[in-house]
């Protein structure tokens, strides 16, 4: 700049901006790469994947299909099944037991623990329970049929930059078919 000029605040800031734009521009393709991550994250959090349960490990690549098989709550009352779902922000583990009246009892744990609402959507209607501070929840009596778990984070009032709050959107599991075969 020439000696006599005393640039005002806005002019000075404009110069600073130009300088850094020239010296240290964001990399080409960064916007596209971030958009890709954002789109991917949207998908990941939408659907939790079945990652563990009493199934052949080789079958895990098809979470939806095998969730069904896994969720069979067999007739023998003492038999129960444990299933684990993973999403990027949350792990949901459930155990399915059969009640004497033919309905299912579903106990679940959320990791990391969060106290929030857990909804089970059924073919007709839905059931909602609260998970406690340790992330435990229980549906005492679930009718047979197709079920799907939806975990929502409790409303957060504050706006902050903390990274731990990732995962405020709902996490949805693949559909389970609760077949309750009474002996």
């Amino acid at each position: 700049m020439t000696a006599a000029e005393q640039p005002d605040d806005e002019a000075l800031l404009a110069m600073i901006k130009s300088m850094f734009e020239a010296a240290d521009p964001m990399p080409v393709g960064l916007v596209d790469r971030i958009r890709f991550s954002v789109a991917l994250a949207d998908l990941e959090d939408e659907l939790a994947r079945l990652t563990a349960g009493q199934t052949d490990p080789a079958d895990r690549s098809e979470p939806g299909g095998h969730a069904r098989e896994m969720a069979l709550a067999r007739g023998a009352t003492e038999e129960s099944r444990t299933i684990t779902f993973d999403s990027s922000s949350l792990t949901i583990m459930i155990r399915i037991d059969t009640n004497a009246d033919g309905t299912a009892r579903v106990d679940g744990w959320l990791a990391p623990p969060r106290s929030c609402q857990v909804e089970m959507t059924l073919t007709d209607g839905s059931l909602t329970v609260d998970a406690d501070e340790e992330g435990r929840f229980a549906f005492q009596s679930v009718p047979r049929g197709t079920a799907r778990l939806v975990v929502r984070r409790a409303e957060r009032g504050s706006v902050d930059g903390s990274q731990e709050a990732v995962g405020a959107r709902a996490v949805v599991t693949p559909a389970l078919v609760l077949l309750l075969l009474r002996t």
């Binding site: 005393q6 800031l13 901006k17 300088m19 010296a23 954002v38 706006v159 930059g161 995962g167």
Partner: protein, 190 residues
């Protein structure tokens, strides 16, 4: 010559008014605000790859915060704050193993190269860089961030960075005044 100045004279929000923050088009925002966030991350001393990783993290985590951010303008402030916090965290973790990264300094164009106009501009930028580097690190960081913040969002961002008028720490005007003095000194000494 400068987009920021134009937008300053006819204030247009970086984030178009929406019914709620959750209605914003994130992909559009990524294009609008990533250049600014890049500077925020780099001002914390991050290398290219770390800066990119931080921005990926911040944008993805914005998705889960959109519901709780009340106004579209607050998104800019949230992004700046989150980027700065994450960048400082990563920088602190990396400082033990990596030296500070100032590779971008090498890319300030050589004044002798290119057209005369480019040469003048490059010379100006070198002087400005030299003056800027005499300020405190905190002032350097603040000015670098503020220069990229869209004017309509400035007040919210400034508030989140603790640099509003009357605050105790370095403020935009105090840092700019020091920069002006440094530029004057350089000219005097020539």
């Amino acid at each position: 010559m400068d987009e920021r100045l134009k937008s300053g004279s006819t204030p247009a929000p970086a984030v178009a008014p929406a019914a709620s923050a959750a209605d914003v088009d994130v992909h559009k925002l990524v294009a609008q605000l990533t250049p600014m966030l890049w500077q925020v991350a780099r001002a914390a001393g991050l290398g290219m790859q770390d800066a990119e990783d931080v921005l990926q993290t911040v944008w993805v985590s914005l998705l889960s915060h959109l519901d709780s951010i009340r106004s579209p303008g607050a998104i800019t402030a949230w992004l700046v704050t989150a980027t700065r916090r994450e960048a400082w965290r990563v920088a602190a973790a990396g400082r033990k193993t990596r030296p500070a990264d100032h590779d971008w300094l090498l890319t300030i164009p050589d004044p002798r190269a290119g057209s005369e106009e480019q040469a003048v501009q490059a010379e100006e930028q070198r002087e400005l860089w030299a003056a800027l580097s005499t300020l405190t690190p905190r002032c350097q960081e603040l000015l670098r961030i503020v220069a990229f913040v869209p004017r309509p969002d400035y007040d919210l961002v400034a508030a989140r960075l603790g640099m509003t008028r009357g605050s105790v720490g370095p403020t935009r005007s105090r840092c700019l005044e020091k920069l002006r003095v440094a530029l004057r000194d350089k000219e005097d000494s020539q």
